[in-house]
Amino acid sequence: MHKLLRQWDNSLSAKQHAALDLSLERRSFLANTLKAAATLSLLPGLIQLSACSKDPELDQQSLIQQEPWKTFATVQQILFPDDGNGPSAMDIHAALYLKFVLEAPDTEAADREFILNGINWLNDLSQQTHQKPFILVNVTQQDALLKQISQSRAGERWLSTLLLYIFEALLSDPAYGANPDGIGWRWLEHQPGFPSPPKNKIYTRLL
């Protein structure tokens, strides 16, 4: 394993690894007590966007012009590509949805950091291997880098986390800004329940 990946593994304590496993496989992210304002200030890059417009498509387009979203969107598109079989990560607004998750008041600070730091580890590996950041290497190299990080425990968990939130973007109610017009539901022939939540009753408003 590349020594960078070993370092990434070692940067997380056994307890953090266990907590990540738990949050990914059993309950997604466990809620925490930190309030959004307190934790978001740690992440100045996250809330540079102006207030969201009414159009999630435009929001996503402007979001992925800047880092770390450009890289997130690139990784998500490899994990869930535009291959003619159903919608891609871009089609379901996976990057915009990931931003919603990172800003949600119940997302744990440690989980938020883990997701954001993954981009740095990935770029470091890309720099050391190809002397370029991830978004500038070719598609074959990008694929190989993701395969490489999946060999480490932390890397596999990071990809697994991104996949979980791609599934949430694919199959949650469009009120969350993803799955536009139920495109994910239609592809998987999933009949959603009713009534569906209006935007002012999504779960973050109920906490």
Binding site: D173, P192, Y203, L207
Partner: protein, 563 residues
């Protein structure tokens, strides 16, 4: 300070009937509920809110349990137990903290107990290592209240003649069965061929509107785990507490967590002490107190409530509080019906979403077997796999070698998993034999966010439960196979289902071996009753909710006489 006639702690299936009956009878009732007061208009079919975030249950960081699980035996052959907090394990034992409690989130399939369940010891004899007793009341004592629940909560169904049909005082259910999924035809045919009785499952779901507030089921297909948006589901909030509020005599204090019952020298409780939404500690006084926090939390509250006449916790002078906890034993399994193996017409029928499967079997409620002899068995419920899509998708991302799959391979796998088959599940409900290794105590280290010791649950089970579960499982798998299902799979285990809790404060005539008297009044605390499922000394082989409702109506009658 105003003195209420009755103070009820907890607003779920145990608290609702008492609040309704006594407030309608003109008594001043206060209900203290730790969760928020969500209304019908707050419930949507939102998988994130219902099932993927901690919205209806506490954050396990703030409020947790400690679970003591079996961890092998020591050199002397004694069981060893390993403690782990639920914050670390994620094994959540909260089931719905809000007005109406977890009854808001049930799927509402309702069965009565049977006469044999009230006399398990005399009917089937003792089992070594199990604390089996007969109840101090009989089925006949509870029957009128089962009937009352059918009418007031609203149960739909159809009485069918079968060998295990329990006696009834009314001819049929007040509401006809809910709409049924086309797969029931296949189930009925197969069971007939096997000479089994596929029974219509009674449901606490209205098939016809009751009034403008409680409309008929709208068949969205998302019922269990979700709050009901039509009022059809007979939750304590919808069916009982709304009536109580309309009486003008009932006050519901939401977001109020009771942490202690304060008792006097005579053992009577004088006040309930609670922490309100603003973290202020407050007290309420009443003539009668009713504890209904769901079994684990009821035991915890009593253990936290020591007083001059209750040195080891309220009602715990014989050390019985928290003992003989019950869950539901058994297991579950499923089989897949592959669309390309069937006609297009049948495939399209099986894809239907909305109506209930509404089928269960009680052919093995009492097992008569050459090897096993005559033993108590259980109930089987049949249902479609839960429609939640995100959870289903997330399970697809691992391959058979437990490696992550992504890219086009993942998308193919996902599409196949969602569109190629329908899955029918079976769930087996058997008696969880009461035993010395299944009990609630207070943890000496772990505290909740208010710095109060959390409940610790030891989850030992009796091996006999597995014997019964496996016997019934064999028949379930045969039904699915005969129906034409592929990949028939299942498991029977001694793992306690957290949403099926009872016991911990068993009722009985002898204060040395029980916490409550036959009227569910705490021995030695004449003005305190327990009305959730805690009273049950044995649990029967069906989900508990109907019986909890029925007994709580009985307790309401008893309290009214005492007031």
């Amino acid at each position: 300070m105003k003195e209420f006639d009755v103070c009820i702690i907890g607003s779920g299936a145990g608290g609702g009937p008492v609040a309704r009956q006594l407030s309608l009878a003109g008594y001043d009732v206060v209900v203290l509920e730790k969760g928020p007061h969500l209304k019908q208009s707050d419930f949507y079919k939102d998988e994130l809110a219902c099932c993927r975030r901690s919205v209806y249950t506490p954050n396990l960081k703030n409020e947790q349990h400690v679970i003591e699980d079996y961890d092998g035996t020591d050199a002397n052959g004694n069981y060893k137990w390993q403690s782990e907090s639920t914050q670390e394990s994620g094994w959540d034992f909260w089931n719905g903290n809000m007005v109406g409690g977890s009854s808001n989130l049930m799927s509402g399939f309702f069965y009565r107990l049977k006469p044999q369940d009230f006399r398990l010891l005399s009917e089937f004899g003792p089992i070594d290592g199990a604390n089996i007793v007969d109840w101090p009341i009989s089925y006949d004592d509870l029957e009128p209240y089962y009937t009352l629940v059918e009418q007031i909560v609203g149960i739909s169904g159809q009485v069918q003649s079968h060998p295990m049909q329990e006696p009834r005082s009314s001819a049929d259910f007040p509401y006809p069965p809910t709409l049924e999924h086309p797969i029931t035809r296949l189930i009925d045919q197969t069971c007939r061929d096997m000479q089994l009785h596929a029974l219509r499952t009674p449901r606490a779901i209205l098939s016809r509107p009751l009034n403008t507030q409680r409309r008929a089921c709208e068949y969205s297909g998302f019922c269990g785990s979700y709050g009901c948006a039509s009022g059809a589901k007979g939750s304590s909030r919808e069916a009982l507490l709304n009536d109580a509020l309309a009486s003008g005599r009932c006050t519901i204090k939401a977001n109020c967590k009771v942490n202690r019952l304060i008792s006097n020298n005579r053992g009577r409780v004088t006040h309930a002490q609670y922490i309100d939404k603003d973290n202020q500690t407050r007290r309420v006084s009443a003539k009668i107190f009713v504890v209904a926090c769901q079994a684990m939390e009821t035991a915890r509250l009593l253990l936290l409530s020591s007083g001059p006449a209750h040195a080891n916790g309220l009602g715990n002078n014989s050390g019985q509080v928290g003992k003989n906890m019950l869950f539901s034993a058994g297991g579950s399994g499923s089989g897949d019906f592959i669309y390309h193996d069937m006609t297009e017409e049948l495939a399209s029928q099986l894809k239907t979403r909305g109506p209930f499967v509404n089928r269960g079997l009680q052919d093995w409620y009492v097992i008569e077997d050459k090897t096993l002899g005559r033993i108590k068995g259980g109930t089987v419920d049949l249902l479609l796999q839960h429609p939640n899509a995100i959870r289903r998708a997330n399970n697809v991302k691992w391959d058979d070698d437990d490696k992550l799959v992504w890219g086009s391979a993942l998308k193919r796998k996902l599409h196949e998993a969602f569109t190629s088959s329908q899955t029918l599940r079976y769930e087996i409900f058997c008696d969880w034999l009461p035993n010395d290794d299944c009990f609630v105590s207070l943890d000496s280290n772990v505290k909740d966010k208010w710095n109060i010791p959390v409940g610790k649950l030891r989850v030992g089970y009796h091996d006999h439960d597995l014997v019964v579960g496996r016997y019934i499982e064999k028949h379930c798998k045969q039904i699915l196979t005969n129906m034409g299902a592929k990949h028939v799979r299942g498991s029977v285990s001694g793992s306690p289902p957290p949403n099926l809790q009872a016991g911990g404060c068993r009722f009985g005539h002898d204060p040395a071996t029980s916490v409550l008297d036959a009227e569910c009044r705490i021995h030695g605390a004449e003005n305190v009753f327990v009305s959730d499922g805690s009273w049950m000394p044995t649990g029967g082989s069906v989900p508990y909710t109907w019986t909890i409702y029925a007994n709580a109506f009985r307790v309401a009658n008893i309290i009214q006489k005492q007031l």
